[in-house]
């Protein structure tokens, strides 16, 4: 406001006014952030409480924030005949493990070469990779390549390969490795170590923080992937978790048939709505459980990306 009047007042008055402003801001801050936090977490609470509601109450009254009739029926039904769900879990876990391991290895190996200042063609190769983020052939040629030429439809490999490498991760990894002093590579070279050995034995251990972050980004992408399955998987035994959930959400009739065939339920008493929500929770569970512990690695990844991306 008017700084002249403020300046004429004693420092205490200024401090008092400053404190009042800070109070106002603190109130705005706490209230707004709490509202935003509730906005972010509310849907999760809603799904959890819906999954724990009795089906008849849902049909009668709809999904409720506080279930008026508590029931774990949906979960017990899920765990009574868990074969399909477990198989989907198995696919997702294998794909995530294999994909993350190879993806991380190849990403960091590529990034290391591109970070080597003495490598004559590092600029050209960097451009070769980077250009793919600027221009692409689009969905159709990519799809036909995978289906008609690589013949990967309905294979486990099609869930792994398309997500294996990502230019953005290579760039983040490269900028991290560029901060490792050249002297390390050079002195190892003088000692007669080969490039691959230098990478494996010196660079990889020094890059642990970046590897953890990028590894988790890759793992999350695999865990949450449903797109490649949507395009390329038609066999139910190869369905990863998220795609299985997608299928089930859209096709409860299929689920009913499967459950009736296995003798779990008769047509009338399948708790469709609560079951959908329970499946959502079970499919998200591991992420929600691991989240508090892995979150900080993502934060570092984002800030590396923001500064140097």
């Amino acid at each position: 406001m008017s700084s002249t009047t403020a300046n004429m007042k004693t420092p205490e008055v200024i401090r008092k006014r400053g404190n009042k402003d800070k109070m106002i801001l603190a109130i705005i801050g706490y209230v707004t952030l709490t509202v935003l936090a509730i906005f972010c977490i509310f849907p999760f609470i809603l799904v959890v409480s819906s999954s724990l509601s009795e089906e008849s109450t849902i049909i009668e009254k709809g999904f409720q924030i506080f279930p008026s009739a508590f029931s774990t029926e949906a979960y017990s039904l899920l765990f009574k005949y868990p074969e399909e769900m477990l198989r989907a879990y198995g696919i997702t876990i294998s794909v995530t493990a294999i994909g993350t391991l190879f993806g991380l290895f190849l990403t960091s190996m590529t990034a290391y070469v591109l970070s080597r200042r003495d490598f004559k063609w590092r600029g050209r190769f960097s451009f070769f990779f980077f250009f793919t983020t600027l221009f692409s052939g689009g969905l159709v040629p990519w799809y036909l390549m995978i289906v008609n030429y690589l013949h990967l439809k309905d294979t486990l490999l099609v869930l792994i390969l398309p997500l294996l490498m990502n230019v953005f991760y290579i760039i983040v990894m490269k900028s991290f490795m560029s901060s490792i002093p050249d002297a390390i590579t050079e002195s190892a070279k003088i000692d007669g170590a080969g490039d691959f050995r230098i990478f494996m034995q010196l660079i990889v251990p020094l890059s642990k923080p970046a590897l953890a972050t990028i590894g988790l980004f890759i793992a999350l992408a695999y865990w949450n992937d449903w797109y490649n399955a949507l395009l390329f998987i038609s066999k139910s035994e190869l369905m990863p978790l998220q795609y299985y959930l997608y299928k089930m959400l859209g096709n409860m009739d299929g689920m009913r048939k499967a459950m009736m065939a296995s003798g779990a339920v008769v047509n009338t008493d399948l708790p469709t709505e609560s079951l959908k929500m329970a499946m959502t929770i079970v499919a998200t569970g591991p992420i929600l459980l691991a989240y508090p512990f892995i979150q900080k690695y993502f934060v570092t990844g984002l800030t590396i990306g923001a500064v140097k991306g």
């Binding site: 200024i14 819906s50 221009f135 052939g137 969905l139 390549m145 490498m165 984002l302």
Partner: protein, 314 residues
């Protein structure tokens, strides 16, 4: 140039370099192969946009049909609709998401409580971690006509339930809110990092000069944040013709009633490929999107370069 190249070759030829860098080159082989197979070779498939695809002929054996695929795409009216939707949604996402994220980051920086800050940050970041399929399930929980939470609340207030999945006009608002929800934590953390890197001496100096906290935010935090905002927004504008397929597909699916306000280029191409099997036309639409995307990203990068050379993509 040619002479220089020849001279160089005499003392130190191309193959000498290959030999010198052979182990580094070998280490690049998997990545090069990967991007050849999944990016460069498929680029040659762009020719499909000019062909009448048939399964026996494949990509290279199918007969040419000139611009027919493009004519079909543009004359159907779909081209304009999906282009407009893609661009408008992305612009709305950029504006709303950035405003909310900056606002949240500033508040998060100013509030005192350390544990409060930590917990809030953790909660805001949560939606980033779940798949779009799960978001689709949440949307179903909220918007379903018979049992959805929103209609439960409306009925509880004695109001008429709304048929959200059959009303196209609700969706622009819904999708903007969902996008803000999913990206809030991600963006807030990026902006918070930018605020944290602002020199604290500036704040101290401002305080001594008698600036109140709101003045400090408006005169120091916001201006210092602007370079980051401008760069991130320009880069986002570069991708304004790329729709988030996962989002649109899981929120809307193949619900034709909503296409007028929700169909984007990516969902359109996907549908033409998988359900109506119009390979040539969807390749044409995909090529059109790639070209648009390429031009906008080049323009955006040019703008970033003008603004701050170090932060340009290339």
């Amino acid at each position: 140039m040619e002479r220089g190249f020849k001279m160089k070759q005499k003392q130190h030829g191309f193959w000498d370099d290959v030999k010198k860098y052979r182990s580094l080159l070998l280490m690049l082989v998997p990545a090069v192969l990967f991007f050849l197979l999944f990016a460069y070779i498929p680029m040659s498939g762009i020719i499909l946009a000019f062909k009448q695809y048939d399964y026996t002929g494949g990509v290279f054996g199918s007969p040419w049909n000139g611009w027919d695929n493009f004519k079909f795409f543009f004359n159907s009216g779909d081209a304009w609709r999906v282009t407009r939707n893609t661009a408008l949604y992305n612009i709305a996402f950029i504006v709303v998401n950035n405003v909310v994220q900056i606002f949240a980051a500033i508040l998060l920086f100013e509030v005192a409580g350390k544990w409060f800050r930590k917990i809030t940050q953790t909660v805001l970041f949560l939606p980033y971690f779940i798949s779009w399929v799960v978001v689709g399930a949440i949307a179903y929980n909220l918007f379903n006509f018979d049992v959805g939470t929103i209609n439960v609340l409306l009925k509880g207030l004695g109001m008429q339930p709304v048929d959200i999945y059959n009303t196209a006009s609700y969706w622009p608002v819904i999708l903007v809110v969902v996008s803000a929800w999913k990206t809030l934590g991600y963006g807030t953390i990026m902006y918070l990092a930018a605020i944290t890197s602002i020199d604290t001496e500036m704040y101290e100096a401002a305080e001594i000069d008698g600036a109140n906290i709101f003045q400090r935010i408006m005169k120091i935090t916001v201006p210092n944040l602007m370079p980051t905002v401008i760069i991130l927004v320009l880069l986002a504008i570069g991708n304004v013709f790329r729709g988030d397929f996962g989002m649109f597909y899981n929120m809307v699916g193949n619900n034709g009633l909503l296409f007028s306000s929700t169909d984007v280029i990516d969902t359109f191409v996907f549908r033409s490929l998988t359900t109506s099997n119009e390979i040539g036309m969807s390749a044409a639409a995909g090529f059109y999107q790639s070209l648009l995307g390429f031009v906008t990203i080049m323009l955006a990068n040019y703008a970033v370069r003008k603004y701050d050379k170090d932060r340009a993509l290339f």
